[in-house]
């Protein structure tokens, strides 16, 4: 297959344990214990992976084993277990480095997730670079996590937030974007994939445009790295963020990738242990990156579990996962388009794994409750993207989102569920 949306990145070649030519989602489902559950007496149809993905046994087992057999704090002890734990934690960093093809392992900073990653950049890079009248550029389809941290620092520094508009399909206006960039623009922060609309933004092109004016770019990868191959060097992004829990990994762990030259210039984020070289009451010397940004005991088990998730993901050919997810999304789009009362919100040419919709005047919360009674888990609401809802003039949407373990059968169940919703309301 030749996936057209791969203009942003290609995966580095690695040996694929599962690469047999045809991805088998039914077999993949066996790796996820939770998917055999029944909800309200019905087999679970989990269509809320954009909020958080379920976890494969490989992740659960790795974390269980770590706590049962390998656990200790990191970077501190001289004893055997501390060495084992430190090695596993630092191996996890290198696993992430390889996954996104970062040049150096120090460029991988473990954080709680995308939210913390963006706050870190806003509070360190932002505080240093932004002055009165300077500008931060975000897009009209950002998650609150890529709006509020910038608003906070802009307010503090007297800087201004500028917004790249989008069209009615949910595609960013690149001409308007280029026009927004000016001498006062200090950073562009844009999502790779929209969690509310599914749009895949042409971030590589956007980065190129920003770099022509020497403006650094942060890419919010919370919704992209589990679906698309990510190569931060090919993208040439300055910062990239990951949330482990959306990539089949545990909660509480994520990554900020940053180019080393930028990270070196940034002040620390939080103070504490591990981020220092020496402390006296008069003066503290900060540690090198990445430790400068990892104050305190990190989520060691989380990092190791996250690495297990990435190893699991890499045991497949990401292009095959992508092709499968595209097939399910396309099938869902066609199937749901056949329902008269249903309107799909977000119809960008390039989309990934998210299907937001409204159903005549039926409120998404009512849709969600009725689908839940049929064992179907979707998300209803504004998806932490209120400006997107305002842009489309709706209070909320119902959102089905897909992952590698979803199938066309899940879509059929969803369509049946929607018919039931319509039956209750007419």
């Amino acid at each position: 297959m030749t996936p057209t949306i791969l203009n942003d990145a290609t995966a580095p070649a690695v040996q694929k344990e599962h690469a047999s030519g045809s991805f088998d989602a039914v077999k993949v489902r066996e790796d996820f214990p939770i998917l055999t559950q029944r909800v309200h007496g019905k087999p679970l149809v989990y269509l809320d992976s954009a909020a958080s993905t379920q976890k494969p046994r490989a992740v659960l087992d790795t974390m269980q084993r770590f706590y049962a057999e390998q656990y200790s704090n990191v970077h501190r002890g001289v004893h055997q277990l501390s060495q084992v734990a430190t090695d596993l934690y630092e191996d996890a960093r290198r696993t992430v480095q390889r996954f996104i093809n970062a040049e150096r392992e120090e460029e991988i900073i473990f954080v709680r997730g995308t939210t913390e990653a963006i706050n870190l950049v806003a509070q360190t890079f932002g505080r240093r670079e932004l002055g009165t009248g300077d500008e931060v550029v975000v897009s009209a389809m950002e998650h609150h996590a890529n709006i509020v941290p910038w608003q906070m620092i802009c307010q503090e520094r007297g800087a201004v937030l500028r917004v790249i508009p989008m069209n009615d399909h949910g595609e960013l206006d690149l001409d308007a974007y280029a026009d927004l960039l000016g001498p006062r623009t200090k950073i562009v922060a844009v999502t790779h994939v929209s969690n509310a609309l599914g749009s895949i933004n042409p971030v590589r092109e956007m980065i190129r445009i920003a770099h022509e004016r020497d403006i650094p770019v942060l890419v919010d990868g919370a919704q992209s790295a589990q679906h698309l191959p990510i190569d931060v060097r090919q993208l040439d992004c300055d910062f990239f963020t990951l949330s482990g829990h959306k990539m089949y990994g545990p909660t509480g762990i994520g990554v900020l990738y940053g180019k080393k030259a930028l990270l070196d210039r940034m002040p620390p984020y939080q103070g504490g242990g591990d981020m220092i070289l020496s402390v006296t009451f008069e003066k503290t010397t900060y540690n090198e990156v990445p430790f400068k940004f990892e104050a305190g005991t990190p989520d060691i088990a989380g990092a190791i579990g996250f690495a297990a998730a990435l190893t699991y993901l890499r045991s497949f050919d990401i292009h095959e996962i992508l092709a499968h997810e595209k097939d399910v999304l396309q099938y869902a789009t066609e199937t749901l388009s056949g329902i008269d009362a249903l309107r799909i919100v977000g119809t960008a040419e390039e989309k990934a794994s998210v299907l937001s919709f409204t159903l005549c005047a039926i409120h998404p919360h009512d849709i969600g409750t009725i689908l839940d009674q049929h064992g179907i888990a979707i998300r209803a609401g504004h998806h932490c993207a209120q400006p997107v809802m305002q842009r489309f003039g709706i209070p909320a949407t119902a959102r089905a989102s897909f992952a590698m373990y979803n199938t066309r059968e899940d879509v059929d169940r969803l369509a049946e569920g929607i018919e039931q919703v319509l039956e209750v309301f007419t």
């Binding site: 039926i362 409120h363 998404p364 919360h365 009512d366 409750t369 009725i370 009674q373 209803a380 609401g381 504004h382 209120q386 809802m389 209070p395 909320a396 039931q420 209750v424 309301f425």
Partner: protein
Amino acid sequence: MDEIRELYQEVILDHNKHPHNFRSMENADAVLEGFNPLCGDHYTFYLRFEDDAIAEVSFEGSGCAISKASASIMSAVLQGKSREEADVLFELFTGIVTGKLDPVEHLEKLGKLAAFAGVAEFPVRVKCATLPWHTMHGALHGSDSQISTE
């Protein structure tokens, strides 16, 4: 599906489709906003008093079927009630939808409000049903800020 029918009773579906007193009010004595930030339900309630009784209740806004029907039925039920009677109904209604009171024991007082008994089986929807009532309660007890479910 039975539980769904329990939740979405005909009365509730009717009021959702054709809400009563769904309009603004120019000469209102109290105006208060009710907001559920989790799902975006957002209503404005208007109250007009005559002597010490509630002469008229109306509302505007948008939200799910449960919250809209609750607002509609509340607006009808409260008409002509004293503040004390409104408080009693508030306690009764919130007791029923949170499952703390048994609707069977209060059928007479509940009247149309009994339609909301099914909400108790759906904990995440309790706030939808109570939002109008909490807002009204705030208006009666002198709150002049927006009432939020969170």
